[in-house]
Symmetry: C2
Subunit: 390 residues, 2 copies
């Protein structure tokens, strides 16, 4: 079974097949002419989740309505929202003293909401910058607080938390757990003593177990590991709610959303529904321990392929900080060859491998929903390409 784009012949049965259509063996784990989509976000979603959404599109479970047509205050959607929250609580083992908020506006909106909810203009806030996203968060916080740059990474490694300059009176310490562009990820929870720790987990949320109790706030845009773009999940410790400054826009005030179960106004119902299906699936598959192990296995395939290429491929990140989600790599000896690499992978149905415009090269985003077969297909291609072009 081929992986060529626009193929109409691919069916469920292909799961058990390996067919040679190019000089390279490609195993296909997807159906309906679908591709291995390595996009950094919005990103690949589980095929069975999409199939369920497809089945229920015009008439959700006999309600006579699409999810998109239901009142958010009706019993049907209320059940969907409650189950999504409960399943997320199960997955992450979220303690009872944390609220789960389903918000809009992406992590970028939270960059402003955090200092507005937790600090005054004169308060110090601490920021650790390890890439493009934590830098954006730091810059926005400067508008609303005395934002202090506690540590700065070099896109290759994460500065050891023991070296961070934590301010004595910082209202919180903010960092980004996985930098999507640089492919730099934290492997443990940084120790910041009794400070309130806040993490942007947009690109590795629910990819691994997390001890939520060590955080004040965890937040994440959904469009990487969780669901479609348009919903942002914030897990907020209750004592941090209710302190927004008077000038905070109502819609950026955690208290408003907490008091109204994320339904102060109409929430992004469809996006929440898809997230709920993903949560349910992850629980059925054994939870985040299982998913984490699979993600480690998937990432190892690519990092090993790079390491065993005698320098043909290069990943700039030091091993201890390498992301399990986003694997950037280049062909340092011949950057022009990268275009050929991308063109050839596209022909084989491996899409969106072009690196971020600020970094160049390639980037394979291998979130939860990317099947290991897709990662293996890419690794196989990398070896094949290397042997032909070394």
């Amino acid at each position: 079974m081929q992986l060529y784009r626009n193929s109409n012949v691919c069916t469920r049965s292909c799961r058990k097949q390996q067919v040679v259509r190019s000089p390279l063996k490609i195993s296909c784990a997807l159906t309906q002419g679908r591709v291995y989509n390595f996009s950094a976000g919005p990103a690949i979603l589980p095929e069975d989740v999409l199939e369920q959404a497809q089945r229920d599109m015009l008439n959700w479970q006999g309600s006579g309505m699409s999810i998109m047509e239901m009142s958010h205050r009706g019993k049907e959607f209320d059940g969907i929202a409650k189950k999504a929250e409960a399943d997320l609580r199960t997955l992450l083992n979220i303690p009872a003293n944390y609220k789960v908020l389903f918000l809009q506006g992406g992590a970028s909106t939270q960059f402003a909401a955090l200092p507005l909810n937790l600090a005054s203009q004169e308060d110090v806030t601490d920021y650790v910058v390890t890439g493009a996203w934590s830098k954006k968060a730091y810059e926005e916080a400067q508008k609303y607080s005395k934002a202090n740059l506690s540590a700065k990474g070099d896109n290759k490694s994460i500065p050891s938390p023991s070296t961070w300059k934590i301010s004595k009176d910082a209202k919180y310490v903010h960092y980004c757990d996985n930098e999507t562009i640089g492919g730099v990820e934290f492997k443990s929870v940084p120790d910041v003593g009794d400070r309130v720790l806040i993490s942007d987990m947009s690109s590795n949320f629910i990819s691994k177990p997390v001890d939520v109790s060590k955080y004040g706030i965890i937040y994440a845009g959904a469009q990487k590991n969780v669901g479609p773009a348009g919903v942002t999940i914030a897990i907020v410790r209750e004592d941090l709610i209710g302190h927004a400054r008077p000038e905070t826009p109502t819609m950026l005030d955690f208290k408003i959303h907490a008091e109204n179960d994320s339904m102060y106004n109409t929430p992004p119902c469809w996006a929440m529904y898809i997230c709920g299906l993903v949560f349910e699936k992850l629980i059925k598959q054994g939870g985040l321990e299982v998913q984490h192990k699979l993600n480690e296995k998937k990432a190892k395939i690519l990092y090993d392929t790079i390491a065993n290429s005698n320098g043909f491929y290069s990943n700039p990140v030091e091993p201890a900080s390498r992301s399990l989600m986003n694997v950037p790599f280049t062909i340092p000896s011949n950057p022009d060859m990268e275009k050929t690499f991308i063109k050839e992978t596209e022909k084989l149905g491996m899409l969106q491998l072009k690196g971020h415009r600020s970094v160049g090269g390639m980037r394979a985003s291998i979130y939860n929903a990317m099947p290991i077969e897709g990662v293996q297909a890419l690794a196989d291609f990398m070896k094949d390409f290397h042997s032909k072009n070394a």
Copy 2:
């Protein structure tokens, strides 16, 4: 063909049928066991739009990806976003000096964004309050400006613009074109001289032609007439962009979104896609003049039924201000009977007719996508219920 919920027997062929299953003749224009959904929002969507989204769910036009999985910066979604904007420009005949922004956070987020983008804390802003939503906008503006209450309606009528107290130096005049809860709608563009006119059109956007050039800004949450919850459309005259105060959250600054074609961060791609399908359909059907005539016809059926009920049903709004979108009504002689009314309509597959909790009674929201057959079915039931209970 019945309209009972959970029916599995309803098929396309039912379009031509009228079958008696209750003492009442009900004509069915929907398929797949779908119901006439009178929700105020999220609300009914065109069946063929849902069918197209269903077909393309796992593999959009041979791309191998779902819309939800595509990079917002890829050529596929870029085309979808550009077409959606172009079609909206066609529908509303939007002049070239207006930007179309696809935002998140609902109209409620714009309540703060408007004064933050257009006024200083010391500037006067004028607000006309004709219901719950314009009141919320006015309250939020008080945090960011000297918000002046120019006029106040009584939920029954719209105060004549000639009586509005427009401030000499108001930065803008804000009103809500259709109040979803009260069912109060403007029938023409209020004349505010050379002031910047801003309208929240969340619940009647693209239900009728609008002379955009008379406005500074028109904005609307999508989840009534346009698409699913999670996208807010703002049409902003270019000279009003670029004046946000320094303390404006980046994500609330019109300039950021205008300069980045609504892709400063990841936009709500799926919601934009559905909106695009709806725009395309409306153009094919002849545009907003045609839709407006249909909406007038639909609303007339209900208002006539109320008027001809000898006071059995009552709508509190004066005829000149009655909404074509939301028709609230009560049974004043016996409010207890309203529960029976709602229960019986539910049995017949006419859902979400309960009035807003602040108003009580019933409310039929009959947006663009509600077929005239659905309105007629409700009117038929109303007459039947009246004759049995008078």
